[in-house]
């Protein structure tokens, strides 16, 4: 099938791309739009490295087709920092050593963003429930949990 036009907004910026229907959303973000902060880990929806926010909801972009994002508003890791100032979640990850190789980190941060927006003071259970679908091979997760607690504290008024 010939390419289809996709118009979407990512981190507040409008983009237009022409893609084959079979191109996944993560591949469009990375290769067509040059937003390589979102990563491909497993390509079948189990590792969470490809997680972005679509219309405010955390979704796995490796198991979405790019054409499905037509008309949507996305937020990726590149959209967390504002005017060069890091988002509290990013700040927390750096301070609490929530990352080592950094490959899984963007995916985790986007899910955390969704969590903290809906639940500014989550319980341990709620945090683990929100992040249970993402895999990290480096940190052993404790530092990630600490980062979430720290981010939540920073973000609460």
């Amino acid at each position: 099938m010939p390419s289809r036009d996709v118009r979407l907004s990512v981190n507040g910026v409008s983009y237009e791309a022409s893609v084959e229907p079979r191109m996944t959303l993560v591949d469009m973000l990375r290769h067509e739009l040059g937003l390589t902060g979102t990563h491909v880990g497993c390509e079948h929806g189990v590792c969470g490295a490809c997680t972005v926010l679509m219309d405010g909801r955390a979704v796995r972009t490796c198991i979405m087709l790019a054409v499905q994002a037509d008309g949507a508003e996305l937020m990726t890791v590149e959209g967390l920092a504002k005017d060069g100032e890091l988002h509290p979640i990013q700040q927390a990850f750096m301070e609490e050593r929530g990352l080592q190789c950094g490959f899984c980190t963007p995916g985790f941060m986007m899910s955390i963003h969704e969590l903290l927006k809906a639940t500014p003071d989550p319980t341990e259970e709620e945090v683990k429930d929100a992040l249970g679908g993402a895999i990290c091979r480096c940190t052993g997760y404790e530092a990630i949990l600490k980062s979430v607690r720290s981010a939540a504290k920073k973000m609460r008024p």
Binding site: M1, T24, I63, K128, G133
Partner: protein, 288 residues
Amino acid sequence: MKPAPFDYYAPASVAETVALLQQHGNEAKLLAGGQSLVPLLNMRLARPGVVVDINRVEELKYIRADGDSLAIGAMTNQRSAEQSELVRERNPLLYAAIRLIGHPQIRNRGTIGGSIAHADPAAELPALVVVLDAEMRIAGPHGERTVAARDFFVTYLTTALAEGELLTEVRFPSLPAGAGWSIQEMTRRHGDFALAGAIATLTLSGDTISEARIALFGVGATPVRLPDAEARLAGARLEQALLAEVGRAVSTSIDEPLTDIHATAEYRRNLAGVLTERALIEAAARAA
């Protein structure tokens, strides 16, 4: 691991969808939440010539009270259902079952209808509709029809949906007044597919069980209702020993559970019995 090429359509209505399915016959595959289908496309385990994406069919996204039941449009995503006050009030068992599906990110895209139409033997919702005697509304080239849950699941990943048809709505009857309920599953990690699971509902009249319903998932090609166990429990006095006995009987009665890389048939048998007992105990505790 990229999908093989396919033609793609994104209809905006049920009518348009049915027309597309008719036009493309068995070359066409419906794309709902994509949480099961797109991994298959990525790994080329599925290579449909045509993908019909029904995420823009807004008319299939709703949650309505309908008499005693909840009518949920097939394209309602699981997260919306989970966060719906109506679902929590009207059918806490449905709420609990949805909460066990994967992870929030999966539920943000996965749909109520999609999970049921996909009919994975280890999934929660197919077993739930079987235990509740829910109804599936279907649209197709010959119009609309309704299929009861007990007739809907044919075998592994196969339902009563004929070529050209799509699931439009699922009607979940409410639990009887005062009924207790429970859903138990065993997963290696939270969010994994269940090795096996049991759903039970129980109504009590004093110390006597008036009605019990049990359905298992992960132990056969389709969800399994347990009429023998249900009959054993109906009218019986609620006692721990009875529930244990039913659990043991369930273990021996299951036909050919699967042996796969996750668990042996023997383990699943044992698990089914244990989970049945636990589900009955919890349902009894919740019963008014």
